[in-house]
């Protein structure tokens, strides 16, 4: 599968990639985006099967990217990995069509639980 990891922190993109491997999800094609605009553009151009996105990013927030994708008719599986988590954020994510909400710091076990149904 093609997976897009969107986070403005380079080290966090590395950690998400590493944790996917540690959780047993190897051999996937990993793409990266360093801000919301790049995330949206790569989602439209590269047509990933899954997007794992930070919430707070320059240019567009993660939830703005998700809303824009849905408004464009793109229904890619999309979820959040974020250090901030409020009920309002979770509600907004759900309403926008997010498939999961993971809070940083995360463990390979948490990734396995969330991504097993998606990545098989």
């Amino acid at each position: 599968m093609k997976i897009l990891i969107a986070d403005d922190s380079r080290v966090m993109r590395q950690i998400v990639s590493r944790t996917l491997r540690q959780a047993g999800f190897e051999g996937h094609d990993l793409l990266e985006a360093a801000d919301g605009r790049q995330a949206y553009d790569k989602a439209m151009e590269e047509k990933p099967d899954l997007i794992i996105s930070d919430w707070n990013m320059p240019e567009m927030t993660g939830v703005e990217v998700l809303r824009k994708l849905r408004a464009s008719g793109n229904d890619v599986t999309f979820g959040f990995v974020t250090s901030e988590c409020t009920k309002e954020m979770q509600e907004q994510a759900e309403e926008a069509g997010a498939a999961f909400f993971i809070i940083k710091p995360f463990t390979p076990e948490r990734f396995a639980e969330v991504f097993a149904p998606i990545l098989g």
């Binding site: 922190s9 080290v11 590395q14 250090s83 901030e84 988590c85 009920k87 809070i103 940083k104 710091p105």
Partner: protein, 161 residues
Amino acid sequence: MPHNLPTAHAVRSMFEDLLGREVTVDSANPVSADDLPKTVVAIYVDESTRLAAVAGLDLPLAAYAGAALGLLPVGGAEDCIEIGELSSVLAENVKELCNVLTGLLNREEGNPRLSLYQVVVPGEPVPRDAAAHLLALGRRIDLRVDVSRYGAGRFSLALAA
């Protein structure tokens, strides 16, 4: 309702989960004014952008934790400690670490959410109000944090209100 300080156990768990390796903590002396120029200072604010908490990581902890976060060799961290400043990669990693540490301040439902406002690395001027809180007695926790296979340094967290 005022925010509560995280326990030493919560701080340890946060570092362990984030760095993916064993971390031990012990009590430590508070930061002194002499330490400030070599301390990474993270400033957290409430929803009205009022200063709510200040964290400090001394240069050894910032370097070791920054290296551990990116699985970088310990030698690079030791070089930074020796010359007294963080490399750009370690500084970037520590900023993300400070971002994730926000979770230590938002553990309780019902309190205003705090967020990371600014991270000041050694060599940059620390805003006066943040320095004052980090140096003041009061609601604070000071710990020696030892990151397995990297090294130890001091972590301080002071609440402004």
